[in-house]
Amino acid sequence: MGLNPSTDFATSRIDAIVNWSRANSLWPMPFGVACCAIEMMASYMPKYDTSRFGAEVLKFSPRQSDLLIVSGRISLKMMPVLTRIWEQMPEPKWCISMGACASSGGVFDTYALIQGIDQFIPVDAYIPGCPPRPEAFIDAVMMIQEKAKKGQARSQDYVDRAVV
């Protein structure tokens, strides 16, 4: 039971039901640190509602959420905080890297910013844009839903296994 990244399809009805319910009730943990957070807030508002996808309960606690949305520049001082928050989220968990800065450092190729959070935490969906439109954000949430329905999550790939 549970997520198994080596299979693409649900192997049983229970898995299908469980994955479907996980996909349709993704509780986001908004990690909004910069301008992309404004577009993320806009996509939670009634015009581009994300609660139609089940992502309504915005818990600002990692222990009660399963979708981390990193929106904004992550600086040197912020990276350990981000890693700690990611670690404190219970499995199954997915991560969206929103915007150019979180995905690759954006326009800031300097000493102070992380050039892409996917070097250090597993990312399931990247959203290009500076900042991306709310429609792009919702597209990423739908991609995560597809992944959840199949039972895939990149956080599972970072598991130390004795046998790969």
Binding site: M1, G2, P80, V81, R84, E87, V159
Partner: protein
């Protein structure tokens, strides 16, 4: 089944369903949830930082005193309730008894207020 108890069967159903939802959710999660751990996963949550201070600190004793007084006055209220329900049939003597009872309790309250228990820093 006792006919008096029979009218409470909705409570029993409610209790069983509540237990199913609360405990059942945890049981299902222990079977279906992935089990992974990492170094700082079970650290106390402090917005991503290391814990700076212990939450166990001494706090004011007045909390205990207020809770104790609440208990006493709550019991007094419980004593007053049956009289309030049937005062018409109890007559005037009961009214005098209740007034004396309330007077003793209010005297206790006045004494406590004079002791400055309800004044906090």
């Amino acid at each position: 089944m006792n006919p008096v108890l029979e009218q409470y069967w909705p409570f029993a159903v409610f209790f069983v369903v509540a237990m199913l939802v609360a405990v059942g959710g945890l049981v299902v999660q222990s079977f279906l949830g992935p089990k992974l751990s990492s170094k700082h996963k079970f650290d106390p949550y402090e917005c991503g930082l290391d814990q700076m201070d212990s939450p166990h600190k001494p706090y004011s004793l007045k909390f205990y005193v207020v809770a104790l007084l609440f208990m006493l006055f709550d019991i007094e209220t419980i004593f007053l309730l049956p009289w309030a329900v049937g005062y018409r049939s109890f007559g005037w003597e009961s009214l005098i008894a209740v007034i004396i009872f309330s007077g003793i309790v209010v005297f206790g309250l006045w004494y406590v207020v004079k002791l400055k228990v309800f004044e906090w820093d």
